[in-house]
């Protein structure tokens, strides 16, 4: 049995209306086989160094800035796509809280691996948005010299081991990254993001099994945004829960409100800490929502109702975090507005940088195929 967590989630009573199971507020059900998930117990640090540990001003503002940067970056990348400068851009707008809450606990030596929809993972992991935007436009100054593009952004120096265009394909790769940490005896953590659709790929099962028997420091994060292209997860996921499947592998599975950056922060703190301490993998299913179409140009109203969309957008992760910050007086509106402005400027700079950068030299077509050949 997996657990369901939602300390900060301000879900209204009708949360279950559109299919997601109702989360339990302010309570964690500890499953029998979960010896150490106990995210609500604050005394849990066990000496592990993490960039952000507590939900204090510093961490809240870092998350806020990160999420706003993602939002602004994605708005801009959509504009670039609409202007015909790239194709098939999978927008992460709406899902900002998930990687942000998790990456708050990761340092540059930790790894993140992503999917076709990974701009938010990259920004949360600290990648340079100038290089990212340049990559989107296929420029030589991009993270991958323009060779990878929107679906293949990576920066190994920042611990981002790549977005991946094949659904589910990065899950075992992330497991192998965790194996490196184990063999080398470091306390590095490997986090892999994947969608509700990806949960149907066999490699998830194979990787949970492998990570389970080898107790690897990997965190499997399912961003359940309710749809895989035009297919709702209620149709494609037998049994109705991705997190539940962890139980078959003897590993903890948690369902969280992915719109609450705070909940994501708390639960992933625990998962990251478990991983660092050598206690093995965790599966987190974060319930979230993508605002735009699957690849941008498509209209999602073909497969989901306006009412549903409005409902989810009413629980926007940035607005929720903003409210928490203001309510708790961690910052005032002027300060938040300054952050907003900073993010916009950063994205503007990135856009200018990318547009002004040159395309790769033709000879780049055949370089980087091999290290040596």
């Amino acid at each position: 049995m997996s657990i369901t967590f939602g300390r900060f989630s301000n879900q209204p009573a009708e949360f279950g209306k559109f299919g997601f199971q109702k989360l339990n507020w302010h309570a964690v059900i500890i499953a029998p086989n979960l010896k150490s998930i106990s995210a609500i117990v604050p005394a849990l640090r066990r000496g592990v160094e993490m960039p952000y540990e507590e939900l204090n001003k510093e961490s809240l503002l870092w998350m806020y800035e990160t999420m706003v940067t993602i939002r602004r970056f994605e708005e801009q990348s959509r504009r670039e796509a609409d202007a015909g400068k790239l194709r098939g851009m999978h927008s992460s707008i709406g899902q900002e809280a998930v990687p942000t809450g998790i990456c708050a606990h990761l340092n540059e030596k930790d790894y993140v691996l992503g999917t076709h929809r990974s701009h938010h993972h990259c920004i949360a992991k600290g990648l340079d948005i100038n290089e990212m935007m340049a990559e989107l436009l296929g420029k030589s100054t991009g993270t991958g010299k323009g060779k990878g593009g929107t679906m293949h952004i990576a920066d190994i120096n920042k611990g981002m081991l790549g977005a991946n265009g094949v659904v589910g394909s990065n899950i075992p790769v992330a497991t192998g990254v965790a194996l490196t940490a184990k063999v080398k005896g470091t306390d590095q953590v490997s986090v892999v993001f994947f969608g509700d659709g990806a949960s149907s790929q066999g490699v998830l099962h194979e990787s949970m099994n492998l990570a389970g028997i080898w107790k690897l420091p990997v965190i499997f994060v399912c961003e359940n945004n309710r749809y895989a292209e035009a297919t709702p997860f209620e149709y494609s996921v037998a049994g109705g829960s991705v997190a539940n499947r962890a139980d078959g592998y003897g590993i903890p599975g948690v369902t969280i409100d992915g719109q609450s950056a705070l909940d994501v922060f708390e639960v992933s703190k625990e998962a990251v800490s478990r991983a660092r301490m050598g206690e093995g993998p965790t599966l987190i299913e974060a319930q979230t929502y993508r605002y735009q179409g699957h690849f941008g140009a498509d209209d999602p109203l073909g497969y989901r109702s306006k009412e549903e969309q409005e409902y989810y957008m009413s629980r926007d992760c940035i607005l929720m975090l903003q409210k928490h910050i203001l309510d708790g007086a961690y910052a005032n509106e002027t300060q938040l507005a300054a952050i907003d402005m900073k993010c916009i400027e950063a994205v503007n700079t990135a856009t200018e940088f990318a547009n002004n950068s040159p395309f790769p030299d033709p000879k780049e077509l055949i370089t980087d195929v091999y290290v040596t050949y």
């Binding site: 098939g88 296929g138 323009g146 035009a230």
Partner: protein, 342 residues
């Protein structure tokens, strides 16, 4: 021929859609499955939400219902394998493998099961499975969504491989694939998908024979061999060559396995020169296969070595200027042809 005889022009997508619909009408054992081929799962208010990622299956679910038009989870090994089992037990499934690169998660089902069951079981089990898949670069989709890869399937005994080049043969080959008793993979180039061609596409159902190529133009000086999208490129290059006074024969291969060896050899024996234009990777490919065939079987007829125009041995780049250098173009074919001719 009078003006009244209008040509029925439909797009490549419509052609495939029409073939699917007609075959489903014709034979209740035909079913279609794949990711988002209807979309919306089984929710009443969202029937035919997508009509397939490439719109190939648009409208089918309304006509034939969710029993025969099945959205699948993203588990290609699972549902391609299910296609194999369904085919072996009495259905004629058409399975959509969105992009050919995803073969990687279901190759076992295709090459170890679909391709081998008939042989291993002494000919007693048939696998009338059709797989349709999208191929080709040129759409800014990078290394994992732009491959061609039909060569590796042609490698395997037990599989048939066809590559339509226009709406007419797309429709006819799809119908033939579905009616065929062996597993057939239909490789549809994504750059052709939205296009309309001049060809007349009859409304009624018909098949194009698997294993037969088509002579697009007859000529004396050189053979240009195209496959799917590159047939277009060959036609464009032929026009440029004819401007220069050469008489060009363009052969559209259409089937890779079985392959119309006779047509290739007789064309080459006539023109004594060949340029093979292919978008798949260059090593161990259909282009080397044809080059070897020609060299071995028409050696004494050749005035010049066979020549291949293919991408270099590199992954497909994302950046558009680089990607444009990857795909064979009419300029490259022209240059290669001139080299052979001169």
């Amino acid at each position: 021929m009078t003006q009244a005889q209008t040509v029925r022009q439909i797009s490549f997508i419509q052609a495939i859609n029409e073939a699917l619909r007609q075959e489903m009408h014709r034979d209740p054992d035909v079913i279609v499955m794949g990711e988002d081929i209807a979309g919306g799962g089984e929710r009443e208010d969202f029937q035919d939400a997508w009509g397939g990622p490439m719109r190939l299956t648009k409208g089918l679910v309304n006509d034939f219902g969710r029993l025969r038009v099945r959205d699948t989870p993203i588990s290609e090994a699972g549902f391609v394998g299910a296609g194999v089992g369904a085919a072996a037990s009495g259905l004629r499934p058409v399975v959509d493998l969105m992009y050919v690169s995803f073969y990687g998660v279901c190759a076992d089902q295709i090459t170890n099961n679909a391709a081998k069951m008939h042989y291993m079981f002494g000919g007693k089990v048939k696998v009338p499975l059709t797989i349709m898949t999208g191929i080709g670069a040129g759409t800014n989709s990078a290394a994992q969504h732009s491959e061609t890869l039909y060569s590796i399937f042609t490698h395997f005994p037990g599989l048939k491989c066809v590559v339509p080049s226009n709406p007419y043969n797309a429709k006819g080959l799809m119908a033939a694939a579905i009616r065929d008793d062996d597993p057939v993979i239909v490789f549809n180039n994504r750059q052709l998908m939205g296009l309309r061609f001049e060809d007349n596409v009859p409304e009624e159902s018909y098949t194009v024979e698997i294993g037969k190529s088509e002579l697009k133009t007859q000529g004396e000086d050189i053979t240009l061999l195209g496959i799917g999208y590159t047939t277009r490129v060959c036609m464009e290059a032929a026009a440029l060559l004819e401007e220069r006074g050469y008489s060009v024969e363009v052969l559209d291969l259409l089937s890779l396995s079985p392959m119309d060896e006779d047509a290739i050899l007789s064309s080459v024996k006539k023109t004594r020169k060949i340029v093979i234009v292919d978008e798949d990777y260059p090593r161990c490919s259909i282009a080397t296969d044809i080059s070897a065939l020609v060299a071995e079987e028409a050696f004494d007829y050749l005035d010049a070595p066979p020549k291949r125009v293919t991408p270099p041995h590199t992954q497909v780049p994302y950046s558009r200027p680089l990607e444009a250098l990857f795909v064979p173009t009419k300029e490259k074919v022209l240059a290669a042809a001139l080299e052979v001719l001169e």
